[in-house]
Symmetry: C2
Subunit: 185 residues, 2 copies
C-alpha cells in the first residue's frame, strides 16, 4: 500500500558537504549544504543550491567560486555548526579550530580536515524559488592519500562520508565485498 503525500524533496541519500568561500575582502566562510549533486562527467560538474538569504549566496554570486569539502562521520559537530550559524556573525574556521589549505585555482581555502576538496567555478545560476541552483565546474580535486587506492580511484571504505536523512545524519558504508560493477554513467 502506498500513500500520496505532500510533495517535498524526499530524495535520498542527500549528501552533506561543507562549502567554503572567500569574499572580496578576503574573509573566509563555511556553509553546510545538502541540496547538491553531480551534474556532468565531462566537464566534471556539480550543483549546489542556496537560499538567497544565505551569506554564502552573496559571496558565490559575486565571486563565482567555491570549494566543496567532503566531511566525514566524525565531523558532525562541524556540519551542524556550519549549517546553523551565519558567516555574517562568526568566523567558523576560528570557532571550530579548522585548518586551511591553499587552493590551486580559486580563492576560497580548502578545509584541511576534510579528505576530499573540490575547487569549483560557477558556470550557470538558475533561480528556482526558495533556492538558486549553482552549476559549477570542478577545476581541481585534492584528496588525502588515505582515501586513494593504489590505482588512483577513491577507496570507498576510507571515505566515511555523511548523508542527511529525514532529520538525522546518516552514514554511508560499503555493505560487503561486491563484484566490481560496470561503469554505467
Amino acid at each position: 500500500m502506498k500513500k500520496k503525500i505532500v510533495p517535498r524533496p524526499w530524495f535520498f541519500p542527500r549528501p552533506v558537504v561543507l562549502v567554503t568561500t572567500r569574499d572580496d575582502s578576503g574573509k573566509d566562510n563555511i556553509i553546510t549544504i545538502s541540496w547538491a549533486g553531480v551534474a556532468s562527467t565531462t566537464p566534471p560538474m556539480v550543483t549546489v543550491s542556496l537560499r538567497k538569504s544565505r551569506h554564502s549566496h552573496g559571496t558565490i554570486s559575486a565571486t563565482h567560486e567555491f570549494v566543496v569539502n567532503l566531511p566525514t562521520s566524525k565531523q558532525i559537530h562541524v556540519v551542524e555548526m556550519c549549517g546553523t550559524t551565519s558567516g555574517r556573525d562568526s568566523d567558523k574556521f576560528a570557532a571550530l579550530g579548522l585548518g586551511k589549505l591553499p587552493p590551486a585555482v580559486v580563492a576560497a581555502p580548502l578545509i584541511a580536515e576534510c579528505p576530499i576538496n573540490l575547487e569549483c567555478q560557477v558556470r550557470h545560476i538558475l533561480p528556482l524559488g526558495s533556492h538558486d541552483l549553482f552549476v559549477a565546474e570542478i577545476v581541481k580535486v585534492h584528496a588525502q592519500h588515505g582515501v586513494l587506492r593504489e590505482d588512483g580511484e577513491i577507496n570507498d571504505n576510507a571515505l566515511d562520508c555523511l548523508a542527511w536523512g529525514s532529520e538525522e545524519f546518516l552514514k554511508v558504508i560499503r555493505p560487503r565485498k561486491q563484484a566490481r560493477v560496470p561503469r554505467f554513467l
Copy 2:
C-alpha cells in the same frame, strides 16, 4: 598530506535512483541514474543528468516528465540491469518482473517495489557537455506506509537507500540514536 588529482566528479555520497518514463507510443522504460540531487525546497525540485545518447534522454526531452523511484539495498540487481541495458532493446519492467503502479499526474508508471516514488515535471534543461541537466519539479510523492513515521516524516531506518561509491554500491545507514538536528536548509 593531500594530492592534487585529475578533476572528476568525486562528490560523495552519490545517490542511486531508478527513473521511469513513458514515451509517446506508451512504452515504459527504467534507467539508473546517479548524477542527481535536490535543487530546491519550494517548489520541491530535483536535478537528474543524462547523456544525450541515452534512450531515456529522448523520452524525457519529448515528454518533459519522469518518475524518480528510490531503490533499496535489496534491489542492486535491478539497479545494475537498468543501468547497463538500453530500453531500445528490452522491456526492463518485464525482464525484471517489476510491478507498475499508476501515477497521479504524469504518464510514467511508478515502480511498485520501490518505497518512494516522486512524480516530476521538467522545468529547465541545461546542456553541460557529456550530460544534459534536467531540473524538475516534484509534483506528487508516493510512499509505502512502512517508510513513514507516525508524524508523516520519513523513517530513515526503514528507507534503506543506496549510494554509488567509486565502483561499488554503498548502503546508507543511521549510525546511532542522535538528537534531532535543527533544520538548516
